[in-house]
């Protein structure tokens, strides 16, 4: 078995490991690095629960090989620790934006990425950004509410609820 040595920034801290080329980044994060917020659902890029931030942009970790993270910066929900992240967590709780929680880490990462770049985002932009993340509990509206309430418009947005 040939392995490749890789090193990257994980939540701001350097990590290095030796991996088989066919190891998916999602599996490397969960099983080798203990980042269990990286959930594994469909493993074909559809469900979105394995979403991480690669150099600050959302990416499916099940559609990346771990070797492709070499030299890059990877953020998982464990690494979300700034004030916006705290506000998001609180807002998800207040708005009942989760039930089973399986989709939540990826929702938080995607929402964090959107609001960091676009604090003025309207509801349609939030819906578009989160459309790649499936949730089987909430019916989405509470998640949209939780994210909308943190925008500059404070949820008074560009579309009516419902």
């Amino acid at each position: 078995m040939t392995t490749v040595d890789i090193a990257f920034l994980l939540n701001g801290r350097p990590v290095s490991l030796s991996v088989e080329p066919r190891l998916l980044l999602s599996d490397a994060l969960r099983h080798h690095l203990g980042m269990t917020s990286t959930h594994v659902g469909c493993e074909q890029g559809v469900c979105g629960v394995c979403t991480i931030l690669l150099d600050g942009a959302p990416a499916r970790s099940c559609l990346m090989l771990a070797v492709m993270a070499d030299g890059r910066s990877v953020t998982t929900a464990e690494g979300l620790s700034d004030p916006l992240a705290e506000q998001l967590r609180d807002s998800f709780q207040e708005h009942h934006a989760l039930q089973c929680g399986f989709c939540t880490p990826a929702m938080l990462l995607t929402a964090h990425c959107l609001l960091s770049a676009h604090p003025e985002a309207g509801e349609s932009q939030i819906r578009e950004a989160l459309s790649g993340n499936l949730c089987r509990c909430t019916g989405y509206q509470f998640i949209i509410d939780a994210v909308s309430s943190l925008t500059e418009r404070g949820g008074e947005g560009d579309a009516s609820h419902g």
Binding site: G45, A57, V67, G132
Partner: protein
Amino acid sequence: MKPAHFEYFRAATIGEAVDKLGGDPEARLLAGGQSLIPAMNFRVARPSQLIDINGLEELKPLVARLPENILEVGALVRHQQIATSPLVQRYLPFMATVALSIGHWAIRSRGSVGGSLCHADPAAEWPAFMVAAGAEMVVAGPQKYRRIPADTFCSGFMETALGPGEMLVKIEIPLAQGGWGFWEVARRPGDFALAGAVCRRHHSRTTVTWFGADLSGPGTVTVESEGGAGHGTHFWEDAASRVLAVDDDYMLQILGYCADQACRQAQSDEGRDYDNR
């Protein structure tokens, strides 16, 4: 670990990638991986070797070559880059509209224009856009570079005109005049489109390029007529049934509808003023 075993090679130059590719018919290039890796996760694809080209800076330009009136798009430019680039917004904003219709944000931030073109999925947007735009593919091969016009690049179901050991390096898109329109029908936003249409209008000439329905690739119809785009859905259904290998009524209705919507957009777009016009 879902994919089957393969050798992994990180290419440092285009020449190195082409050498490796030419030396092993079962080797595949790894670009964004948004189609290849799911296929490998299912073990539908079992390449013997992956040649990772993500480190090749020569594949990443996104520049407007104004003397020639060309937008140069490197094969590794990601869909989301096209969607958000101020340069694209300035010179070919329609391309950003097409980019935003591809998959979801997380897919767009990894998937590449060149990867999508070479994968040649009949439901993909870029092959039809490139045909409509009259783009040219610049391809590196074992001996030399060559150019392939977009309308001969997709040669069949998930097949391209690329020969053994050839790789797409960049795409040159003319910044031509006229209006653009785009419409596609997908069951849910972000899903693969059932079908779609790209429309271009300039003066009395209307060109519609369809994708999705005909598995062999994009198909185009050009209509010369004065007096607006108001041909209507039935006109385009008939046109689609003549140029595409489609006889399913439902699919023809979708094609007619997409063409009609795209033409209406192109008609209103034609009046807009861009920097390149």
